[in-house]
Symmetry: C2
Subunit: 309 residues, 2 copies
């Protein structure tokens, strides 16, 4: 039977893995959080949606104990632990030359990092608009609707892409094959590179950030740096569309009352994904000789704040 | 008798005014803080130095009650209230065409703002390296040594410059006439435009800021923007020297254990002088068509934080 592993089975990894499991597939949740893995194996994965509460029996395993060979591994670790995860999965012979590696992680440059472990032709990239939350170890809060954009990392089409697409859609995850997944990845990363660090630095909700009369003038040059770097990588982003999307998060009825996830990471004593967002823009800018002073400064400011945790 | 007014008689205004008074001059302290003015008139100005504590009888007056015509007015208000002060002094006929206006304020662009009220030939600019503190209304803490650089705002030399120089030196304030006071003003403003806002944004002491391994790479591009704008205004700053001066503040034995004054302002619910530091760099950059993305972003970040007070 087609074996699927979800490497990094936190909030989002769980949402994806549990949905696929419910569609009848053989899914294993892989994670480094012992309490979480134990809870799932003893109690099942507990799911709370808008309308109901139920639990799903699903195998969960600590990364150090994983031993299966998988046909598909969905990577949903935090960006900074993805390489360690790939290394461990490789050491445990979980990856064959037929294994598809599907990254759904936030941030930029994952295809470059993952291709140190498997060829680009085995790597698939996806962007998800689903959201997910954990209420505690093994307990998910799954609300709202989303979608997934998917493409092989080298841009080529193959049977496997369609196979993955079918699995995701059987799981009700509303997926489609993209002709330009990098545009989706970069668009999402741009949104995450603006409000995430700025609200974190300022210790403000998205709404509070947006009430500053010069908020737009604050974000325009930051977005411009990202769009310029993207363009040099043949990824053509629409600045106006991105600015609109950022501003659409300000109202209290939208995401306004929330602190972005980076703020939550820092306040919970966790390192952030800044190096895969603004920090990656800075790294690309350096390589391409494109100045990115704002992304660099913002990366430094977040690293300075990380020193406090 | 030669009449001297100190407009803005807080910590630094007091230090200068009291020193001149002690040298035997006719000095009036002018301020908007009623409790402070009353305290001084009732108890005298109380001074605590490294070695002694004493009080000085000196007239203090609320700006709204000032009525004298002054020969010399030393401006040591906060940057954002200097114009209102000048307007009030003019309305009260305190300024004649022979009155020398000596600005010792921090920040940039004061000569431009003050010259809306009096001709540039009546304006003198000084940079002070003295420090000063207030322990409460009417109570000064005056420690350490300092110096003052002085020049007429239009760069010309005149008798009055020498007259002011003599007064300051009779007061033991270690003054000298500069050939390039703008270089001193911009140098000090550069220092104030780096650690002041960055430590404020990060809520870090100077030492904590300096322990970040990339601290130097963080400040170099910021200093570079300022040096470039200065150069376009024919003010030639030495980047290396400025960086050295900034870094020399990091050690705990230097200013490391302190939060900069801007941090203190914000934490005490006061607006900052950001528009006269990084904000003024941004304004000059715009006029001169020199990009200053970092100074602009930092100005926005501080204004965002000011919204919280």
């Amino acid at each position: 039977m087609y074996k699927i592993g979800v490497a990094g089975s936190g909030a989002m990894g769980g949402r994806i893995g549990l949905s696929i499991k419910e569609a009848g597939y053989d899914v294993t949740l892989i994670d480094n959080w012992e309490e979480h893995v134990n809870y799932i194996n003893i109690n099942g994965a507990e799911v709370q949606t808008e309308s109901k509460k139920y639990s799903i029996k699903i195998p969960a395993v600590l990364t150090e104990n994983v031993s299966d060979k998988f046909d598909l591994i969905i990577i949903l670790t935090k960006a900074m632990t993805s390489e360690m995860m790939l290394q461990q999965l490789q050491d445990k012979n979980c990856i064959s030359e037929d294994t598809a590696i599907l990254s759904m992680m936030n941030g930029l440059g994952h295809e470059e990092r993952l291709s140190k472990y498997v060829p680009l032709s085995q790597i698939y990239l996806a962007v998800t608009m689903w959201t997910a939350g954990l209420r505690g170890p093994g307990q998910w809060l799954l609300e709202g609707k989303g979608s997934i954009d998917l493409q092989r990392a080298d841009g080529k089409k193959d049977k496997c892409t369609e196979f993955i697409l079918n699995i995701l859609n059987e799981a009700g995850l509303n997926a489609r094959i993209s002709n330009d997944v990098f545009k989706s990845i970069w668009s999402k990363a741009t949104l995450n590179s603006v409000l995430n660090p700025l609200c974190t630095i300022l210790d403000k909700t998205i709404y509070e950030f947006g009430t500053y009369i010069e908020a737009k003038n604050m974000i325009i040059p930051l977005v411009k740096e990202i769009v310029t770097v993207a363009k040099a990588k043949n990824i053509f982003l629409d600045s106006e569309e991105l600015l609109d999307k950022i501003e659409s998060a300000y109202p209290k009825e939208a995401q306004g009352l929330h602190y972005p996830s980076m703020h939550q990471d820092l306040n919970n004593g966790r390192l952030t994904e800044i190096d895969y967002l603004n920090g990656q823009i800075t790294a690309y800018g350096k390589k391409l000789n494109i100045p990115t002073p704002l992304n660099t400064m913002i990366t430094h400011l977040i690293h300075q704040l990380e020193m406090k945790i």
